[in-house]
């Protein structure tokens, strides 16, 4: 399962960021979510959502072997093993790994899919495609 992005449909509402944090931390805080929205205003005037593409670069660079792949295709962080060193952050080509001062581990999308359920413009959609890297198999 992956997330399909139709970037021109993003309206910048950040409902995805809100539900992401509520789902994973049971509190309101868009800065703890595992995706991001870029807003370019006043010119040219557009929004761009960025989500995990399951490329696996984070797993490769993690010195603690704290990131591993689940059957769903998601790269999951072992919160016990992760020491929040942040090496994975610059390795992520789309910039969707985050740290937050409240937590001693990095935040990476686990593909719970809540963000795709709440949006109504179709900017983020469930994508019934095999996990990236598994297509050839």
């Amino acid at each position: 399962m992956r997330i399909k992005v139709q970037r021109d449909r993003c309206t910048g509402c950040r409902l995805c960021l809100q539900i992401c944090t509520v789902e994973h931390f049971r509190e309101m805080n868009p800065k703890k979510s595992a995706l991001r929205i870029e807003a370019k205003f006043p010119e040219p005037g557009r929004y761009r959502p960025f989500v995990c593409t399951q490329c696996g670069e984070c797993e490769k660079v993690c010195p603690e072997k704290a990131i591993s792949r689940a059957e769903t295709g998601a790269f999951l962080v072992d919160r016990g093993k992760c020491n929040n060193c942040g090496d994975c952050i610059p390795a992520c080509p789309v910039g969707v790994i985050f740290q937050h001062p409240d937590h001693g581990f990095v935040i990476i999308c686990d593909f719970c899919m809540m963000c795709t359920e709440l949006g109504s413009t179709g900017a983020l959609k469930k994508w019934d495609r095999k996990p990236r890297g598994a297509e050839e198999a």
Partner: protein
Amino acid sequence: MATSSSSSGTNSASRNGLAGTTLRIDLSTGAIRRMPTDQDLYRRWHGGRGITSKILYDEVPRDADPLGPQNLLIMNAGIMTGCLIPAGAKVEFGGISPLTNGVGDSNMGGHLGPALKHAGYDMVIFEGIAPKPVFLYIDNDTVELRDASAYWGVGSLDSEKRFKHELGEDFEIATIGPAGEHGVAFSCITHDFGRQAGRTGQGAVMGSKKLKAIAVRGNRSIRVHDVDALKQQVVGIVKRTQTHPNMEPWQKYGTAFFIKWSNDNGVMPTYNFQTTHFEHVDGIDGDKLVEKCLITHKACFGCWMNCGKYTRAVVPGKAPVHLEGPEYETGSLCGSNLGMRDIHDVAYVNWMLDNAGMDSMSGGGVLAFAMECFQRGLITEAELEGHTLKWGSVDDAEHFIDMMVHRRGIGDWFAGGTRRAAERIGRGSEKFAMQVKGQEMSGYDGRWAPGMLLSYMTADIGAHHNRSWTITVDMAEGRERVEGRAKIVVYLQHIRPLFDTWCICRLFWGELDITPEEIVESLNHITGWGIDLREALRTSEMIWNLNRCHYLERNRGNGRSFDYPPARSWEDKIPSGPGQGKGLSLEQIEQMLDEYYDARGWDRKGNPSRALLEDLGLGEVADNLARLGLLGEPLPGGIPETRGEKYKPKAF
């Protein structure tokens, strides 16, 4: 400059939707005080408009100049803001209005309100006047007043761009423009390149304090009473409404589409409300906006309806501009009301007012009034510095806006709004100064929609539509009859401002069949208060009456004397279009006022009675009115048990 910093910004113990801290900033001294947010105050007044009204009543002296140091500017991010509520994005600004000389409040969506709470603050209260231009910088615990001299004189939109560039794209910024700096009475506060707290001149209050901007960033969590129940409820509502028939049109066109409907139904303000039908409406309707100008749809924080239309306007001979809108109100008031025939022209006027920092509703109203004065020869080319001021001319509008912003010549009179301008011009112009209590009318003519006219007449902030909007009720109940309209207006004046009290958007309620009971349920999940809609409506009624009393105390007169619309409303019948020949008589207007005061439990002079105020827990306010001789007489049959009546079938 002044800095305040501490390690514990938020009260992590509170699980009631509040961030925990209130800031009080004396701009005269630069002192920044942090206080725990007063939970009892929120419980009684619910936040937003309620709290700003209460603080203004308690703290601002009755003779204080709205643009002087004793007035306050209160920024309040509401209890539901940023708490997953659909469209729970609002931030409320309140202060005594330079336009109405009563309590002023106005809110805006975007992302600033949630950002303020995520930085750890529920409310910021500004007092005094800074010795030189400053902006408020908030980055979690860091709260500073910083020098804004380099931004003074820069347009609202231009300053936001520069602030974002300088501070970082992740800051949420509110700015004022040159109009606010120069005390133009209908100045607005701008955010997110096109969201405005437009009405009641809060931008002028901000400018009088030499506060150019507010910049906020934060990464704190807000905790609520029952997060699981809230999540389940909100997810249910969002999924249910995704297939609602209104959703797709709403997302696609926003509010601008109703221009044609307004025109077809004879309520379209045209040539300064001279008529209610614009022959060139096809050129300025919402479909033209989407077809010719749209760049992207734009939503406020957490909203899945994205009514915002971010656009580009191109007018020959001028540089292309980016703006949000025009939505319905601006589209009508700066469109047909100014005789603009092309959507690009309407959008360009919208942009000029936005960047100057003027409310584009009052701005459209003031420009239209000036154009009619010019049409009638009451102002001349000599007074306009050699320019004309003709219907439909963007160039003329541009020059006149510049005269108002810089308060040159007669531009200074109009910078005070239509009421003050009419006082200066005289010669019968008061008749078509389309305002009530100093605030310019919204984009609907009330002559063939009596409930709408009554809504304008009685709204606490003057002729604004958001307190009560009844045009579909008027259509259903008879557009030439006034009987029975008052109770519905009273009900709407209680339920609609609740949204401004909770700092959430009103539109998803009316347009997507989300019930008020559902919203109160969300409020309970957030706060744990366990209240019902009846109690919420009583709170709203308490706020309404407090503002009424405050207005009487400041303006020292019987309420009725302030509640009349301009004489065009009853002297002139609608001259053209579907409403041709329609209009109300002064007797009908008097009858509506009588019915309205009866429905509210006020006496026929329009003053609240002691029995009513005590019933609402406002006994001290009754004492204050009594001292001024403005307390209402006891009502012969006592006060009505419930004030206001929900319209059935359901109205919006």
